[in-house]
Symmetry: D2
Subunit: 396 residues, 4 copies
């Protein structure tokens, strides 16, 4: 197959050239005397992406799922009651993990396409006068449905209820791509991974933890070793790790952070919104609908697009892959066959995403979906043209 395979799944994302260069390296000694000169600033800078002042970050050789497990097993204990909602494959998997790890899980099921049911959270928190709920879980960006929830609202209901529960947030497909404010929103544990907004290969579980959660971790009854905060803290404080870290990814992370800061986190978020809006215009141009049920849920990192009844979205994805070397995201679980997804996070730009839109358009027409050739592309183009960020940058 000639040319590039076009990658528009919602992670792993496309690696920028400089990050790729930085990971083309010889191995190094993770116990070298000067290794801390590299790691200590890395930890501090990583916190900035979470807007976290106190607390700390953990970098596990793992996927984001590992970071989820680390969050739970370090701060909670078996039998602890947690409040969580389910509205997509990834919030579903989180519920599943909570249950398998023996938590007492209060799940609120919400139609897929909606986000965190804040009012229902409010009710249950208000009703929990005995403070049995130890933690409230929120999936910031549900990757399966392209739904982004408002974490600040969740903090608000916690505060309104004067509820002391910890706030766990799944930021795997949001952190470093959309605004994330741990301090301001009172997030206690924020889970992420390397292969999304951080623009790295998969393999680093990234976890940011508030001081409150660190304090709570001392009372956890979970048995654990690999993901144990205490081991990490004892060694990280010296600039080292309790076992061999994934130094290649750490070096890549350094470049990734430098790249994010050079663009400016605010600009990174604005770019994601801009790129995403073009995709949404394309969907409108096609006359199709997003899985996200309301504009307030629209995700700036991934769009799940509903195919019309009678069509199988899996065919769109397969056709795109086999005929056009274009990787789109499949519909997962409840929305299998119903949606396909375009990931538009990380290192992207307008023309990249127009390629994805053009390819999706062809694949949809190939499988018989009645959309007009060029309709999505044209809509996105016009949006991008009229809202070009270069001009805005010049004006400012």
């Amino acid at each position: 197959m000639a040319g590039t395979t076009h990658l528009f799944i919602p992670g792993p994302t496309n690696i920028p050239e400089n990050v790729r260069q930085s990971m083309n390296l010889a191995m190094e000694d993770m116990r070298a005397p000067d290794f801390p000169e590299f790691t200590l600033p890395l930890f501090e800078d990583l916190k900035k992406v979470f807007s976290l002042t106190d607390g700390r970050v953990f970098l596990f050789p793992s996927s984001g799922t590992g970071a989820w497990e680390a969050a739970i097993t370090n701060v909670l204990s078996p039998g602890d009651r947690v409040l969580i909602s389910r509205f997509g494959q990834f919030s579903h998997l989180w519920v599943d993990m909570c249950e398998r790890l023996g938590l007492d899980v209060d799940v609120i099921d919400v139609p897929w396409g909606e986000g965190v049911p804040v009012r229902e959270y409010a009710k249950r928190l208000a009703a929990d006068t005995e403070g049995k709920i130890k933690a409230v879980f929120a999936c910031h960006n549900e990757t399966a449905t392209g739904v982004c929830s408002d974490i600040a609202e969740i903090r608000a209901v916690l505060d309104e209820a004067y509820h002391p529960a910890l706030l766990f947030v799944d930021g795997v497909s949001s952190v470093a791509s959309v605004d994330f404010r741990m301090d301001e929103w009172g997030v206690d544990l924020a889970v992420s991974g390397s292969q999304k907004g951080f623009m790295l290969p998969a393999g680093l579980g990234i976890l940011a933890v508030s001081q409150k959660a660190l304090d709570a971790s001392k009372f956890s009854q979970y048995r654990k070793c690999y993901f144990d905060f205490a081991d990490m803290i004892a060694t990280n404080d010296q600039g080292y790790f309790p076992y061999t870290p994934a130094t290649q990814l750490l070096r890549g992370l350094r470049t990734s952070l430098d790249t994010l800061f050079a663009e400016g986190l605010g600009n990174v978020y604005a770019r994601h919104n801009h790129i995403a809006e073009g995709v949404r215009q394309a969907v409108q141009g096609w006359g199709l609908e997003l899985c996200a049920a309301d504009p307030k849920w629209y995700s700036d990192t991934v769009s799940a697009i509903c195919v019309p009844d009678g069509f199988d979205s899996a065919n769109v994805v397969k056709t795109a892959y086999h005929r056009y070397q274009l990787s789109l995201g499949v519909g997962l679980s409840k929305v299998a066959g119903k949606v396909f997804r375009i990931g538009h996070l990380g290192s992207t730009n307008e023309v990249m995403v127009l390629a994805a839109i053009a390819g999706a358009e062809m694949a949809m027409r190939d499988v018989g979906i009645p959309i007009e050739a060029g309709s999505g592309v044209a809509a996105a183009q016009e949006f991008y043209r009229l809202n070009n960020r270069i001009e805005l940058a010049r004006a400012s």
Copy 2:
């Protein structure tokens, strides 16, 4: 700037991943005892791309321009009469080189947009009863205007005239992308470079030479050293070079050849035609015209697209670059301001080219050219969909 800078100039072209990997290497000893085990098959395999059986290839650390100079200075002598035509910036530069190197240059000027004037060549060859013309020059693919000429026809007129002149062909932007048959067409010197169809960085001048030209080289009166065939032959025959070769590019060339052969040269040519035809459909969709004056001249490696009167194509290119991170080819010399170019050679596929078309579309609309948004993309998409090569592959 986030994301990829989209490169759609007619060379350097996009490097495939495996070629890029193969050039990520440590340096090596170009006098190592086993170096010939690498180079000797490389020379032989490279000849296949030119469809050259006898004769030999030369690999100079140089650009294609260097290979041009090597061709002239090794086989001709100052004062030799050569027949050449000029219909674009690169054929112009070749004429210029001929003149500066002291040849007696019989130039035929042809409107830019046309190709080699075969009938005029025939006339002049017929008139040259004394055989003063030592060489006939033909630019196979004029990169500035997107015009591809028929080399077989030139051979035919040479044969018809029973003329013994050598046939020099500039194949810089054709070899390895469009059919090239040195043996069959009786080409004596074919010039190419690494950064086009060979999908490598610039830095290798590639020259294929017939046995007839090698014989002629013994009588050349040019003073030369760096580009001297004799030095190359003496060392190449042993698998070595007269001076330090660009081993990184040679290793890349090995992978490039393997990649071309794995796809099959016939398939490579068919793919280039397919990709190019989509671009031409886009131009038609826009209601614009190619610089190439007739379909018989259409180039499968680069399209030079005329902007309507009153618009400056340089603005299209600048806008594409600054606003959309898209590198298009500018109009050069006589067609400066009048055309912009989309390079579609090397490692490309449909979605890649659709990205370029979409970006060009935006840039044209930005500068006020009255084309419809999505019109070019839609035309190309429909062509690609209905002529998808994957389906053809399955059917066969």
Copy 3:
């Protein structure tokens, strides 16, 4: 600092050029339809390195420590009695993990420098007439002391006692470097990692599991999710993973396996023995002693070298690092200050190791250790010269 930093710690090891090239890649879709065409043969080929016929391998995004935890939490249950021995930092950490994970740990402490106390294992297994011991743990190669134990002997004592306990082996610094025969030795769980004999960056926990252990895993009472075999099996059987795998490392592993097989596993082991023996000759040349108390314990992947009384081995390591850009392994825990280590596993050759020996020699002299300049190098050189494997290869 100019030039290479010389890496001679016992992992991460030096990455071969072809493996490095293979990891210089764009990201890919781990749910692509053709992804299983890559992963399924990878799983099968990986089993060959363990000499495992039935059973299966697991590839976790983790360090080797994660693979340890996976081994325990999938196959055992809290409160299970296990027999284990401790004679170095890594066997110590394994004991620590067993205790923290709630196993009933029967630890045999052995002087550091010795290996698995097989006779003592035999006694305790014989005494365990009720079959309370669910698993026997053995650290194949203790990386801290350079001690390699004989796993076949442990199998023998298990068989002699007709004891059904599972056999867990830590092969982190042995697998792919020294002979390892899971089938023949009846190993049930063999733990390894990417950054040693597999010559990859850290980040892949590699675990090979016998069918007997897989069967046992169905009854494990541990709560787990990230490391759960069942999730892995369900997806691996289809060629996929339960969460985003570290595709970059998987691609590297493919090349690593190809490289190991091209050399031949037997030749890889012979090379490691050859290289190691040269290091041991150097130690003798210096008049120093290995931490390994007896030749039968000598490790072919790492040598822990005792500095004379009155000297601090940490100074040797620091001096080597700061003055000579040479990373040696420090002495850990009980042998801190007493030994330094030369890692000689993975992609090494004689001249590489001579560099390490020469550098260690300088560092030792710098800190005042009374060894003769060149003495270790000369001893190793003569061994390498007289036992050159190239000659042997030609003779065979």
Copy 4:
């Protein structure tokens, strides 16, 4: 073959990691509007390595041999008288080029092992009262014999003779490794290449030219095109090139310059001297002699080492390569069979060179040369230990 192939030829040299990373890149548009922002500072910074204030540098896609040809054909004219000396394969090749390019060559043959015969130059310049000598050529560092000449002395004799001849210097294996002062020494054309002190792959001919030589270039009668200064100047002044430049190497050169400047050119030269002195100590330790006939000729970038009578140095080199994966330089031409060479320029450090010494030692013993095992290594080690630059750096 496992492990690294050790490269100790006098170019190509070992590429530093950061330079290698910087060349792992996608292709770029060499006509991009912002390309000059990259090239113009590159030209200026490159001049610093030559200590050139006025004048300019040229970067040809070529080897150093190409830069030689550019120097001659742009500034001289056929028939011009030049004064040159020959004392090694590379000065020989330069003489050969001068002759083939039609210069009137006044060659002084000097025993191989000596350098530029300054007194003889002085005589001939004094005798040239008519100023027929247009240029004086000097090979700064003869790579074949490891002989470095004093360019300042040549300038002195030119000045003493009040002779206006241009001074051409071959700095291929000296520039960026040993002190080079174009302004101060009145060098008019200094030739170099990318694959030596610049630590890049071969493929860039680097030429630095004084204003005086640029002025002279206007009167050159050579026919040339590829290497024509005028074309380069016209485009370089705008930040562009007359044909496709080797952008990959240019990007690498940027990093190379940054690396040289970060270390400090003075430190780079001191390091080369230090590394070289260790090699010379090893030669003394072996009881062998350098080809360089006098310490004043000793080269800090390459040592040519004489094997005792009755031995063939080619066997040493072959043995080192085949048995130990060590590339040493062969003896060339007159010293074929008599010397082997260790290149110690570019990105090197002590332990790297000790590896080369250790390997050479083994190979010499293998072929029967009666040297003591470890003798060279020990001598170099002691030199390096007692003159360790890290300590010096701390003290300063």
